[in-house]
């Protein structure tokens, strides 16, 4: 449905179809490029998350879709119409702001009615009260925003946007100001509301867990561009960049070289041995690669025990446990493998005895869970962001 087009606003290609399409979106502040040529396709009615560390350009992208920032270049299509030159009040989108931005001089009712009044809608009272009932705040309609708790203000901010029945609802870190418990509760509530109203939601967040819980599709952003776009499980299981592998959860990455290709499989030589990777999960461009596996996929067995036999179809490496910390639900091991690289292993607490530091072990995991990334990237990319915790 969507016609591909080159970045740049002069491209005469139109995009047909529903939902939101973003093509070649660029935003520069002086010499700094905040958003560097982004393409997005958000199907109608989906819950879409823009995920990334602070300063990655996700909020700027959202504000450009809202019309609150002017793009330097690029186009934004909503249901096939290019809205990128329209003013914010002319676009069929509404925003839930990070600090809610409720009008302090208006009652809750008038806050929610604000957009309807501007568009001279009929039955304002009925629409507003219906929306307030949806979030169980109808009894507070005559209060002022400052008389409400943070969670209540947040819900007012959501319905103030939703009551206008926008084609796209934009949420700019709407849960950032809430405490953890309330945040979890609001995540479920937002997801429920989205399912009920069926409006396209675009949710900006730096919280990977929040994005994975709520979104159908996630675009992971870093330094002004989209690193990877896909469903949460797909991004987690098959990251295509070091940034994504580290930003979403934790990854073990071993430096290696592609040593052979055989149909659906690729083999890579690492200091710890040869490892097999499904060809579909190998995104290395050249010979240098980073072989990756998630810590919870790995089994730890003491060398010499009966269980130490590696099942067929598994990759295995040997090493020595350098650290073991018992967390309760699982045990986290640090294992130094041949060549000096360290692997992290999360071992489920299934009753097996703790492996002590200094023990020689064999690590093995299903080869299907292995992925390979291009070796030219920084291994620590996406790791040190304090907000990503």
């Amino acid at each position: 449905m969507t016609t591909a087009m080159a970045p740049g606003r002069e491209a005469p290609v139109t995009v047909t179809g529903t939902g939101l399409q973003v093509r070649g979106l660029v935003k520069q502040y002086g010499t700094f490029t905040a958003v560097d040529g982004i393409d997005l396709d958000v199907p109608e009615g989906s819950f879409f998350a823009l995920l990334g560390p602070s300063g990655c350009g996700k909020t700027t992208t959202l504000r450009m879709v809202a019309g609150l920032e002017d793009p330097t270049a690029g186009a934004i299509y909503i249901d096939g119409d290019d809205v990128s030159r329209r003013r914010a009040y002319q676009r069929p989108v509404n925003t839930v702001f990070q600090n809610y931005a409720l009008f302090p001089h208006l009652s809750i009712f008038e806050n929610v009615a604000f957009g309807l009044r501007r568009r001279r809608q009929q039955n304002i009272k009925k629409s507003v009260m219906e929306m307030l009932e949806l979030v169980e705040l109808a009894h507070l309609a005559e209060r002022k925003p400052t008389q409400l708790s943070g969670g209540q203000q947040q819900r007012v901010a959501v319905v103030r946007a939703l009551v206008n029945k926008p084609q796209v609802l934009l949420l700019d870190e709407p849960l950032g100001a809430l405490d953890l418990k309330l945040r979890r509760q609001m995540q479920l509530e937002l997801k429920k509301i989205q399912t009920e109203v069926g409006i396209t939601f675009i949710h900006v967040t730096h919280d990977q867990e929040e994005a994975m819980t709520m979104a159908d599709t996630i675009a992971v952003m870093n330094a002004g561009h989209v690193e990877q776009l896909g469903q949460p499980a797909q991004l987690y299981e098959n990251p295509v960049s070091v940034f994504v592998a580290n930003f979403l959860g934790q990854s073990n990455l071993l430096r290696g070289t592609i040593s052979g290709r055989d149909g659906d499989w690729v083999t890579a030589a690492t200091s710890a041995g040869t490892i097999r990777i499904p060809a579909a999960r190998c995104s290395a461009n050249g010979a240098d690669c980073l072989v990756g596996v998630r810590p919870e996929k790995i089994q730890v067995e003491e060398i010499g025990t009966a269980a130490a036999t590696v099942p067929s179809g598994h990759n295995s490496v040997t090493g020595r446990v350098s650290d073991a910390s018992f967390i309760g639900v699982s045990t986290q091991y640090q294992v130094t493998v041949a060549g000096g690289q360290e692997l992290t292993v999360f071992s489920q607490n299934t009753g097996t005895a703790l492996v002590r530091p200094g023990t020689d072990v064999v690590l093995h995991w299903d080869a299907l869970h292995t992925f390979a990334l291009d070796g030219s990237q920084d291994v620590r990319s996406g790791m040190d962001d304090p907000e990503a915790q």
């Binding site: 009040y89 509404n94 702001f97 001089h105 568009r119 206008n164």
Partner: protein, 308 residues
């Protein structure tokens, strides 16, 4: 003494003494109010009482004045000086509106658009205070003079016909009511601008974005969000302009004529030239009460207590 004050209440050595307020700390606020309270009594309450008793005296400069509770003085001054009262409030209202019309765009620009020039512009707003009030008011005589630039411009554009027809000018600007209003507006402009700037500057920019996001164009956003949120500044600025303007007489003295005097001029003349102290005192009190009543009604109607 200071050590005793620092000790907890009744606590010689009570180890479990909680944060019980000592009788001393209970009186602390009153002690802190003492300097201001004394100043208020000496410089405000006592003079007002003196003024009130003076207004009820009879006598003459030669024979001296005695308190005779002569209330008819109030009726006399009201019947004799009501045109001055009307002009005081009319000119003050005109000056307040004019100052608001000039100050609001100015304060808005400084608060929202000035960027790095903000401090410079704020300094320029108060810069006139570096020159004497009298000098600045006298300067307006030059500006508004019959052969001056303002009159030439108004005559050239035909604006003078309009203002003449409205009774604001009489073929000239100096010595008319318009000149007094201009002088008042000019002199009290900083008192209008600063409260306006203060409340505009405090408005969360996110609210303006939210309004735009909710289908309001810039015009609607201004009237539905910016203006209501700036009302505390509007009320503060208009009060700070109206109250002193209603009691002012210097602008009238320099820019008006004998035929359009204000209450302040009448008080000045009664007190310093005619030496009719009871009449002067009565007129002052009437002006004061009138301003208080007007301001109370205005503040109540503006409903500032509902504003955030």
């Amino acid at each position: 003494m200071s050590i005793a004050a620092a000790l907890p209440a009744g606590g010689h050595h009570a180890p479990s003494a909680g944060p019980a307020p000592s009788s001393r700390s209970k009186f602390t606020p009153y002690f802190l109010l003492l300097p201001a309270g004394l100043a208020l009594i000496v410089f405000y309450v006592l003079p007002t009482l003196t003024l009130a008793t003076t207004s009820l005296q009879t006598g003459s400069l030669e024979q001296g004045y005695t308190l005779t509770w002569h209330w008819p003085t109030y009726g006399e001054v009201l019947s004799q000086y009501w045109p001055q009262f009307a002009r005081s409030f009319g000119y003050a209202a005109g000056a307040t509106i004019l100052a608001l019309l000039i100050a609001y765009p100015l304060a808005y620009t400084i608060a929202f658009k000035a960027g790095r020039f903000r401090t410079l512009m704020l300094t320029l707003v108060v810069a006139p205070f570096f020159t004497s009030f009298l000098i600045r008011t006298l300067a307006w005589r030059q500006i508004l003079a019959d052969e001056g630039p303002v009159v030439s411009f108004m005559k050239a554009t035909g604006l003078m016909h309009l203002t003449d027809a409205l009774g604001m000018t009489q073929g000239r600007v100096l010595a008319t009511g318009l000149a007094v209003v201009i002088g008042l507006a000019y002199n009290f402009l900083p008192f209008m601008t600063l409260p306006l700037y203060n409340s505009l500057e405090k408005i969360d920019r996110g609210l303006l974005k939210a309004s735009e996001d909710l289908y309001a164009n810039s015009w609607t956003t201004f009237w539905k969000v910016t203006w209501p949120l700036s009302l505390p500044g509007v009320v503060g600025g208009t009060l700070l302009t109206f109250i002193p303007a209603a009691g002012d007489y210097v602008n009238q003295q320099f820019l008006g004529t004998i035929s359009n005097t204000m209450t302040g001029n009448a008080i000045d003349s009664l007190f310093l030239q005619q030496r009719q102290y009871p009449q002067a005192a009565a007129l002052s009190l009437v002006l004061m009460v009138a301003i208080i009543v007007l301001v109370s009604v205005y503040v109540k109607r503006a409903g500032t207590e509902e504003l955030v």
